[in-house]
Subunit: 195 residues, 2 copies
Amino acid sequence: MGAATLDRTASTQSPVLEVLAERWSPRAYCDQTPIDEQKLASALEAARWSPSAYNNQPWRFLVARRGTEAHAVIVESMAEFNQQWAPQAGVIIVAIAELENEDGRQFATAHYDLGQAVAHLSVQAHHDGLFVHQMTGFDAAAVQSHFDLPERLQVVSLLAVGDQGDAATLPEPIRERETAPRERRPVADTVLVDA
Amino acid sequence: MGAATLDRTASTQSPVLEVLAERWSPRAYCDQTPIDEQKLASALEAARWSPSAYNNQPWRFLVARRGTEAHAVIVESMAEFNQQWAPQAGVIIVAIAELENEDGRQFATAHYDLGQAVAHLSVQAHHDGLFVHQMTGFDAAAVQSHFDLPERLQVVSLLAVGDQGDAATLPEPIRERETAPRERRPVADTVLVDA
């Protein structure tokens, strides 16, 4: 499916787990295969066991499989660039931060905790052969409104999850990004104090 | 070091990677062993390869090993409860969100992206036998001020990272938490729409 010709493994300076070095965010998804339900369940289960401040678990998800009305609504909310590739994935997951609970207690680190849960989800999915690509290029307010979510539940990102497709089928400007080298700032530039 | 008598593996409803099921946040740290520098480097490297919106990598870290002045300053900022256990860990890492870059470009998902980087760090550390416990119970403004961080770099959380210690040495109220069952809401309560 194109993966064999495309080595996306990170050029690490220190050894890391294979699943972390090899995880990346493709845009070529297979639009033929339905999402593997067991793998999806494992990905959501991985998110479940993520840590959070005071174990508040301030995350919620909407799961929309390709072909459903919910999926169509979410695709409609996407930026045009994302509409060219993300709809092909077997499922789109909407990631939601719980800013406060029903009693008005605020969860100050809701976005941070949600990010951790999504990372757990992505790592598990990648281990199982599913690919995850997160997006912020979409109309979050439209999704919020369509699914009638209260203000305390804030739509943050979309996750395309599915089987990898053939990069050669992507339109040219997107295909370029698919094969560009994976780059990160060196650790030394991230650690501001090393005492 | 107490680990053998304390099974903290998650009661999963669907299979997940061993490192995700077994990762948990202890409070009993060994205050004798220095941090293993190679494992620390791998944990930071894992954070490095985390995904982020537009690959902005809006995270920074301060690393303070036990015994340094930076460590003492951070411990001083902690809530009293955390001061009872967290200083024993070999290193405290300050997790920082880059809210905007030096040119004023805002990173809307900085907290979310930082959370993902910290999750990668935690997973790698746990795999290597290091334990990570995150805290929000501390005076972030004091840390921000001491290390002279500009407003665009926001101190979000502290991470105690080190070798596991003996839970029996913890003061009673903390020891209770150490052995309480790990609990999470079922996935079905987290997935608000399953289409």
